[in-house]
Symmetry: C2
Subunit: 210 residues, 2 copies
Amino acid sequence: MSTPRRRGPYAKTAAKRQMIIDAALAAYAEAGTRGASVKDIAERVGMTDAGVLHHFGSREALLTAVLEARDTALEAAYGKKEALWRPDMIAQNAETPGLSKLFLDLAAAAAEPDHPAHGFFAERYRMLRERFADAIAEGRPPGGVPPTADPDAAWAARVLIAAVDGLQLQWLLDPSIDLTEDTVRLRDLLMDALEPVPRDPAPRDPAPEG
Amino acid sequence: MSTPRRRGPYAKTAAKRQMIIDAALAAYAEAGTRGASVKDIAERVGMTDAGVLHHFGSREALLTAVLEARDTALEAAYGKKEALWRPDMIAQNAETPGLSKLFLDLAAAAAEPDHPAHGFFAERYRMLRERFADAIAEGRPPGGVPPTADPDAAWAARVLIAAVDGLQLQWLLDPSIDLTEDTVRLRDLLMDALEPVPRDPAPRDPAPEG
DNA sequence: GTCTATAGACCGATAGAC
DNA sequence: GTCTATCGGTCTATAGAC
């Protein structure tokens, strides 16, 4: 999966970028936003703050890269469709120490229309809603035929994604909450509600494409 | 409602505090976090930043006061139980221009355990969950007998509150989402799910305490 | 290409004068 | 109660060393 050495400078740069990304997440996990200034992150990899900014341009761009790297790693490990759907993935994504906090901070900031990460988050949620809606419309996790434009499934997708985010906030404020259990229960309720009588064979109607 | 003049200095201070609170919300609504520095807010009321901080101690305390004032005003206008329950209240609270953004920013920051507003938010959510759980357990909005410690109602309360918060984030990123409609639909689904067969008289079993 | 050193702008917070 | 002045800290931009 990893390509430790390619053409000279590139490999070095990519490795350094990854080191900085890891350091940023570690800083966030250990000390939160205030302990994750560019200077703090730079010290973890033995550089100056200006050196770090040479690779990412700005603090916000660096933090966005952390989230992008996380999404990419999850998709590579579990597949694009399943990565954000399975209960253990929901938990892993949420309970990685600093990640929930970083996500929440950055999402709040990016809600501003002219924030540099606004596009990243808007697109991420658009894509998430699409994938969730497809999976919900099919009635089961893995993907097959996309019955897009199902308004009920679209609603369920919005609500389920929203609940995952909101529960993360409550969990950060009160860690006694069981994030995964609450989420899975809602997912199951939504899927049942959208398929009221799935186990009724229904004698063949003259359906098109039947 | 208002007490324009009490004992000399007090009334003046309270009025000034309210002016600053209003200015802070207006600044947030018009220009977001970056346009709501202490200095920006101070200029709106014809003061310097130090003058504003004299009244609130810190920027975070000022912003927390904005949210507290909002909660207090809603409760005074609609009653404690109903204020956070009625669909139009959900919408009003969420769609007041800068309020959603301010709430999200501050909640994200306050998720840090040592943040000055951490206690305020932790307590606010504890109280919200309690009220929602009571209302859900009763099966209808206004309050009566609190059948507390109903784990199903507690779960529904967590999930509904989480969805409201998460939908606000999605709405900020994509204003085409109908916050109120999505929320009410989930509320109704949850209440139906927790009262599976409410209209079944069920001939009296020898239930304990029955 | 990679990184350091330096300097500027802004912010929140504090101390002391009026 | 409010202002001026100032401090420490953060992000950003630029010049230049390696």
